[in-house]
Amino acid sequence: MKNTEHLIRLRRIFTQVVEAIVIGLALYASIQVTQPDFVKLITAAPKARQVLRELLAPDLFTRESEVVTVGVALPVPCGSAPEDEGRASGPRLEVEPKCAAERETVVVRGEELGKGVQVTLRWRLPDGNTLGIQRLVTDAEGNFEVRVQVRPIVATKGGQSARIEAEVTLPGGRITPSQTLRDVTDAMFVTIFMALLATTLGTLLAIPLSFLAASNITRRGRVGALVYYLVRTLLNLIRSYEPLVMATIFALIVGFGSPFAGILALVIVTTASLGKMFSESIESIDPGPIEAITATGANRVQVILYGVVPQILPDFLSFTIYHWDINVRISTIIGFVGGGGIGDYLSKRINAFEYSKAGTALLAIILVVWALDFLSAQIRKKLI
C-alpha cells in the first residue's frame, strides 16, 4: 500500500520533470530560430527617437497666409490720365495729392490694413513691371503713412498712369486642413465604406448559410444532415484562412491597392464568421414557440418568420454591428497587402519615409477605431 503510493508520487515527479524539459527545449529552439536582439532595443534609441518624433508630429493643418493687394493710380503729370476716386472703406491706399509732377513728393496712406501687418509698397509701372519702394509695418490702427518721391520713370505712358500698390500679407490667415489630412480622410472613408459594404454583403450571405448550419433547423432527415455538415465544414474551412492571406490573393487577381480586393477578402471572412455566430444564435433559441406555431398548421417559412426571426433579430443586429467594427480594424491592415484604403496609404508613406504623414494616418486609425468601438458598444447595449 505504502509502496504504490510512493510509486505514484515518483511517477508524478517524473512526468513533471519531462514536461519541464520539453517546455525548456521548445523555448530554446524558438530563441535560436527567431534570434531576438534585445540589446538593439536600446542601441537603436536615437533612430527610434527620430522616427517617433515624426510619427508623433502628424501633419494636420496648414496656415493659409492671405495676400491682399490694394492700389491707387497716380497720374504724372496731372491730367495725363484719370485720377483715382479711391474706396471709402475697407483696406485701401490713398495718395495726396491725387496727381503730381515729376520729382515732387506725395504722401501715401494705407488704411484699415490690419494692425502690425507686413506691407510691401511698390510701383506698378504703365508697362506692367514693378518697382519696389519700401517694406514697412502698419501701426496699431492698421494704418501707415509714408512720403514717396515721384521719379520720372513713373510718368504716364500712352494714357496709362502708374499705380502705387501695397501687398499686404495677413499673418495667420485661416487655418485649413493640410493636404495630408485631406488625403488621410479620403482614405479613411474608403476604409470605412469598404468595411460597410463587406459587412453588408457578408451578412446577406451569412443569413441563409447560418440557417443551413443550425442543427435545430436543418438537421432533419438524411438530406438535412448532409447539408448541415457540408455548410458547417465549409464555414469552418473558410474561417481557418487569415483575411490577410485572402486579401493578398485577391490583390493579385483584381489589382494591387484596389479596395475591391479588400472587400472580397472581408466579405468571405465576414460570411464565415457571422455564419457561425448566427447559426449558434439560432441553435440557442427557445424551441417552444416553434412547436406552437408549427401546431397551428403554418408552413416551414412561416414558422421561421414568426417563431425564429423575432428571437434572433437582436442577436443578429448586434453581431453585425460588432463585425463592422472588426472589419474596419481588419481593413486598416488589409491595405498593407494591397487591399486599398487607409492601410494602403499608410504603407506607401512608410515606404517613402514620410513618417509625419504616416503619423497622421495612424492618428486617424486610432480615432476611428476608438469611435466605432464606442458607437457599436452603445448601439449593442440598446439592442439587448
Binding site: 401546431a295 397551428t296 403554418a298
Partner: protein
Amino acid sequence: MLRVEHLTKIYPNGTVALRDVSFEVPDGEFLVVIGLSGSGKSTLLRCINRLIEPTSGKIYWNDIDITSASPSEIRRIRRQIGMIFQQFNLVKRSSVLTNVLSGRLGYANPWLSLLGVWPVEDRQKALRALERVGIADKAYQRADTLSGGQQQRVGIARALMQDPRLLLADEPVASLDPVLAHSILQYLEQLNKEGVTVICSLHFLDLVHRYATRVIGLKDGVKVFEGLPDEIDRTRFKEIYGEEAQEVRAASL
C-alpha cells in the same frame, strides 16, 4: 371522432414513450390524460398533431389517417387542432396581438403573412379572441411583459384563432399558481360546451374530477386506466401513480 390504434413511440435513444396505446374520443368529450412525469402524456398529445412522428400505430380523425398524411395535408389538419402548452410557448419579443395572429397562419395567405400583412377580419378576430379571455387591453404589449396566467390566456386566444374542432392541452396549468388553475380550465370547459373536443393532460386529481368527462391513465407509456373520473379510487390511484404516491389537491396548496 378521434381514434388512436396501437400507438407506439420509441425515441432514437431507445426510450419507449408509448407502447401500444389505443382509445377513442367521441366528439364533444373532455378527455383528461393523467400519469406521472415521463409517463408519455406529452408524447401522446404531440403524436395526435404529429409534432412527434409515431413509430407505429394509426391515428384517425373523422376517418382521415393523420399518421400517413402528406406534409400539406398535415398542415390542413393541424390548423383545425388547437394546442396550448405548459410553458405557454409564446414568442416573447413579439406583441400579444402578433402571437394571437400567428394562430391564423394555417389559414392565411402565405405571401401576405410573410410580409406581416394581416386582413382586417383577422385582426378583429384576434382582438375578439383577446376580449374573450379578458386581456384585450394588453394587445400591443410585448408578450413577456405579461404574467404567467395572462400568457396562458394569450395561448388560448391563439388556439381560438384556428377555429379548432379539437383542442390539445399539455399540462395547461402546471406552470401556474394553483389558484389560477380554475380560471384557465374554465375557458377550456366553456369551449368544450360549445362543441370543441378537448384532450388535456393534468396533474391534480381534484381538477380531473371537476372537469373531465372521461379519463385515461398512462404509466410508463402503457394505458393502465380508462374510465369515468369517479372510478378513480385509492386502488386505481396507486395503480396509475405507484405505491408511494400521495394525493395532492390543487385547492389545498
